[in-house]
Symmetry: C2
Subunit: 424 residues, 2 copies
């Protein structure tokens, strides 16, 4: 008998019929002899509708009130799901984030989990019930104020709860069959990955793969929670995210490359003619960080000896472009650059695989593939298990396809899947 934490996103519980279908699946897992704890997101478009209501009231709603408003969504889905399971003759009780012991800091709108003390969930499970827990929400430690966890919050709730309950697995149900070697909308021959390491999954998530958010994978890695990403529309096994890419006892010959991720949400800022003296680069990144912006890739050109000046480029989320540009322009006098170029028509491709550590020639093969496809590389950055390149946005799809093929990731037959983002 195992303890399983299952998480269902908004599209899996979009209406009464979907809720009944999910309830049947949960009841079957329970009847098969496992203990089941379920984390659920708000129904379908509920969150968007609530945001819209708030916008009708005020363009800048206070975040504390916004969190109270949004958490109404999970309250509705969790109670309906508990009703649907009870209706199948399986006992079920729903619990708010607070009742489930999800304690967070007080950063409304994107709170971080500090601790999970799920004694009530454990009690419900011990008593033979299925516990349904509201995803995406928690309470602050001392004031019991309601908080939300931000994007991907329900996935994070599920993994955190699985860690606290020492669950055997955390199953993340979504509308795709698992994690793919590339986005099947761009690469129809992309293959589902059966197993992937936390490190690879982290790099995939950080590089634009949308199936799991970064913080959820970070949490799973820190606490060693096996995460099973699978479809709520089929019973096929999905992708197991764990600390070894192969099963114990299986041959350790793991594939070099896990997959190709892409990201279209970044922009590039180039700061032209920066005096090439110590401290100038540091000053730039200080200014940018001070505006609350996270940088991604950074490239400093070789200094032109005759002028003693250089260009510095970096990428950042396009949504932060205005803030960073404004901050830099404000500090133009003390940094001493000539001009600033902003470019949001870039794309980023990342090749990820723990195998590349021990296999030389991966980057050579990547660059050759891109070159053969006539794609120009504007920036490069690497980690031990990832190589990322920046291209023109309109060449990104071609780049992903070329690289996917060059590393033998194409499957024999084309998949017929719809690839979408997860809910919150």
């Amino acid at each position: 008998m195992a303890l399983i934490v299952q998480k269902y996103g908004g599209s899996s519980v979009a209406d009464a019929d979907s809720i009944k279908r999910v309830a049947k699946r949960i009841a079957e897992a329970k009847r098969a002899g496992d203990d089941v704890v379920v984390v659920v997101s708000a129904m379908g478009d509920t969150t968007d509708e609530l945001i819209d209501l708030a916008q009708q009231i005020t363009p800048l709603p206070p975040q504390r009130e916004m969190d109270i408003l949004l958490t109404a969504g999970e309250r509705i889905s969790m109670s309906l799901l508990a009703m649907a399971i009870s209706n199948l003759g399986v006992e079920a009780q729903s619990f708010t984030g607070q009742q489930a012991g999800v304690i967070t800091d007080s950063v409304h709108g994107k709170a971080r989990i500090i601790d999970v003390t799920p004694s009530r969930i454990q009690q419900a499970v011990d008593a033979g019930a299925v516990a349904i827990v509201a995803g995406f929400q928690g309470v602050t430690q001392h004031t019991n104020d309601v908080t939300t966890l931000g994007r991907g919050g329900s996935d994070t709730t599920a993994v955190a709860l699985a860690a606290a309950l020492q669950a055997d697995v955390c199953e993340i149900y979504t509308d795709v069959d698992g994690v793919f070697t590339a986005d099947p909308r761009i690469v129809p021959s992309a293959r589902k990955i059966d197993r992937i390491t936390y490190d690879e999954m982290l790099e995939m998530a950080a590089s634009g793969a949308k199936v799991l958010v970064l913080r959820c994978v970070e949490y799973a890695r820190r606490y060693g929670v096996p995460v099973h990403v699978r479809s709520s529309f089929s019973t096929h096994p999905g992708t197991l995210v764990t600390d070894a890419a192969t099963e114990e006892g299986a041959p350790m010959e793991q594939p070099i490359i896990a997959g190709v991720a892409h990201d279209r949400s970044e922009a590039k800022i180039t700061i032209v003619d920066v005096p090439d003296v110590p401290g100038k680069a540091a000053r730039i990144f200080e200014v940018v960080a001070g505006s609350g912006v996270n940088l991604d890739m950074i490239v400093q050109n070789v200094s032109v000896a005759s002028t003693g000046r250089t260009d510095i480029s970096f990428t950042l989320p396009a949504t932060d472009g205005a803030a960073a540009t404004a901050a830099l322009t404000r500090h133009q006098p003390d940094i001493g650059f000539t001009s600033l170029q902003y470019d949001d028509t870039i794309g980023k491709l990342s090749l990820i695989g723990a195998g590349m550590k021990s296999h030389p020639g991966v980057s050579a093969r990547l660059f050759a593939a891109l070159s053969d496809a006539g794609i120009n590389i504007e920036m490069i950055s690497t980690s031990e298990i990832r190589i990322s390149v920046v291209t023109r946005a309109d060449q990104l799809d071609d780049a992903v396809r070329a690289v996917h093929t060059a590393f033998d990731l194409d499957s024999a037959d084309e998949q017929a899947v719809v690839y979408g983002g997860t809910g919150r």
Copy 2:
């Protein structure tokens, strides 16, 4: 500077525009120098929509889950109202029933308030903020389970909070101008009552007046909370419910009659040919009480000497008719009655006024008025400040008008108000 608790029902916060209108009213009260605590119901039809969703899932939803589901409604309205007030530059924070310290028993769906410990509300008020509290909801003492208070629950929340905060007044905002001498839909010349005692208001509520529920008035009387029932669509004073029908210093000549209430929701059961021996009536009411039904009026006819048998009639909520009938039929052998008649085409008229205690002839005048109007009286019951009669349902409106006129309650000019029930 006073501390005012205001309660707004669902129709007052039905959409974004209504919420903004109510927010303006609250902000004005706050700017006028008073401390303001607001209790709010769910928006318009939200509760019905949530009930409908539950019905799509299962015909018999577990009450615990139903309570979690329904409390989502106040979460939405309270956070939106807090946003709207903040948007006007007045600080506002919303609080759930739990955060406001509303502790109840564990009878889901119609929990009773055990205690109110509003330390967080007091803190918010002391800090200069308007506190918005979810009506209709609380939590159980030890398990922190979410409960709802049943019909009229938000009014009860408001009065209970006003008592705990020792507020100067509890203002119940509704879609009518106050409490009327009769339902203006039936008696267009009905007058708004300026002041009414708790006792009279209790009898009004118990006799079918829908503007305030019984438990809310009971709570107000027990803790001496002045309740001001008024319209959210105007600034006219409404009806003040308090312990003296006249202001201090004002002449004590209070009107004999406060008003005429009517109730169309009852049914009558007549048990025919009951053996007129001690204990039989007690046995009947034991059986009915055992089925969870509350009786209202009871009449036992004079025993027919030749047979030693009698008829017993009582009224009860029509919704309890099936349960009571089934219980009595099951016990027909040991009670020993011949037959049972069920009649749900009755109406009840009640004349209420603390003045009738000291004014003889009130009942004579009532019966004369009904007789003159050609209306037959089927049952009568009286208390110190109330006389109730049962008539045919289709004669009830005529009866109300006749009695209203007979006791000089008609106003000079007809009111142009719409009289409706309150929200929850």
